[in-house]
């Protein structure tokens, strides 16, 4: 007996959406920490550190996220590291987000005028103090709109975790379709939920960007 698309399916999709949000949050936190480390390494005065971070960024940006997911989910257990689907997806997303945010945040750090570095240096602040008390607070302001915008990419790309048996919104849609075979309405419903998750972030990002542009004009 094939039932038609109904409340119970919506409920199942929303449960999937909750997991999408959880994975997105994990990816953002993990990737954020990774991105900060990579960004700081990219502007290190030590050549090897800088080059290592640059190589990491180039490497990750040259690999499809889906392949990173497979490497995490199938590859890690194969070398003796057991991982749950959520764990595998989080690790893969962290690696991926870290590379993109690292490169983006490096730009934001370097966009802080050199004269600010100089002023901080001449007050005898140590490199760490200059970074955390003078440069990063200003870079955060530059980077916020773009970072919020990138969160949209993170949410959409968590859908690839459905390929490693993580039951997120996309995978929930596939499971429903497998049982009731109503692909159009099912995936339209999935699409609508993704849109509702992403749209507010897009609006927020654009609003922050406009506010920043106004702030610049004033200063």
């Amino acid at each position: 007996m094939v039932s038609s698309f109904g409340t119970i399916h919506i409920q199942f999709l929303l449960e999937g959406a909750v997991w999408t949000i959880i994975l997105s949050a994990c990816a953002f936190i993990g990737g954020g920490v990774m991105g900060l480390i990579i960004a700081l390494m990219r502007i290190s005065p030590v050549w090897t550190v800088r080059t290592f971070a640059a190589a990491y960024i180039q490497l990750v940006q040259g690999i499809p996220l889906l392949v990173l997911m497979f490497t995490g989910f199938f590859g890690l257990p194969a070398i003796g590291v057991p991982v749950s689907p959520l764990m595998a997806a989080t690790i893969s997303m962290t690696v991926w987000v870290g590379a993109y945010l690292g490169e983006f945040w490096r730009g934001s750090l370097e966009a802080v005028p050199k004269s600010q570095w100089e002023a901080a240096e001449c007050l005898a602040l140590s490199r760490a103090q200059r970074m955390f008390k003078v440069i990063i607070p200003q870079a955060v302001r530059n980077a916020t709109p773009g970072t919020v915008g990138f969160m949209v990419q993170i949410i959409k790309n968590t859908s690839l975790a459905s390929a490693v048996s993580f039951v997120d919104l996309t995978r929930a849609g596939q499971l429903i379709n497998n049982s009731i075979f109503e692909p159009f309405i099912t995936f339209v419903a999935v699409a609508v939920i993704y849109f509702l998750l992403c749209f507010p972030l897009s609006v927020l990002s654009r609003r922050l960007e406009r506010r920043m542009a106004r702030g610049m004009a004033k200063a």
């Binding site: 600010q116 001449c122 007050l123 602040l125």
Partner: protein
């Protein structure tokens, strides 16, 4: 303090050479600054005076020559820069206040994080430094809320809070409207009267003549004349003669 250290110059530049790529900007620059003395570097834009000043605080590294400041050998590659910067304060043309911090926080940042002074003490210190530059009521203002002249005075207060032995001023009034220049120069003159050792790069010739114990005239990376403010009235070289005729 014994006489030997008292008579030793606080700043020494000897045969300093500096190039940016192919362009040589300092050709054998030498001068000395005694304790409590005000030295003013004058010359046209591009004469090397700002570069010479920046070399004193190791914001530029020199290609040859010797620089010593408060006993620190600046030209020694192994110099601990932070020790040098504890003794030397510098104020820039573009103020370079930290825009995300209030004026009070700008001033307290270094005494708190570098000298580890307790909070209450740094608040008092910051208020005292702001009083000194006539900005006692701007403790909680943000830099963007102040005029250029006020921002520059706040920047001076920020340097003073570290209680440096030497103050460097790099064209600190060049970005200001003429009516705001005076208030900044007055602050510097008060510091001079208080016995602060200073090196000043400026285009304000009347101010230079008034304040300088030693005037240093630079042209095309070389020092042509140095002496008291009176050298402007009786130039010995055609270069200074031409410069003085134009500027005064």
């Amino acid at each position: 303090m014994n006489n030997a250290t008292e008579n030793k110059p606080v700043i020494v530049l000897r045969d300093v050479e500096k190039s940016f790529g192919q362009v040589k900007v300092l050709h054998g620059v030498s001068f000395e600054v005694q304790r409590g003395q005000v030295t003013v570097l004058i010359g046209r834009s591009g004469s090397g005076k700002s570069t010479a000043l920046r070399c004193i605080d190791r914001l530029e590294t020199v290609n040859a020559g010797y620089i010593e400041v408060c006993g620190h050998v600046v030209t020694d590659p192994a110099l601990e820069l932070r020790k040098l910067r504890l003794d030397v304060g510098i104020v820039f043309q573009s103020y370079n206040l930290f825009p995300h911090l209030t004026i009070g926080q700008n001033i307290m940042l270094a005494p708190r994080s570098v000298k580890n002074l307790p909070k209450t003490e740094t608040v008092e210190l910051a208020r005292a430094c702001l009083e000194q530059v006539g900005l006692g009521d701007k403790f909680d203002a943000y830099p963007e809320q102040l005029s250029g002249g006020q921002q520059q005075r706040a920047a001076i207060a920020r340097s003073l809070a570290m209680q440096p032995k030497v103050m460097l001023f790099d064209e600190v009034t060049s970005a200001l409207d003429p009516e705001l220049t005076g208030e900044v120069l007055k602050v510097i003159e008060r510091l001079a009267a208080g016995g602060m050792t200073m090196v000043i790069v400026t285009h304000e010739m009347n101010f230079a003549r008034r304040i300088a114990d030693q005037l240093v005239f630079m042209h095309q990376g070389k020092i042509w004349e140095k002496g008291p403010g009176a050298i402007l009235d009786a130039p010995q070289t055609p270069e200074l003669q031409r410069f003085a005729a134009q500027e005064l």
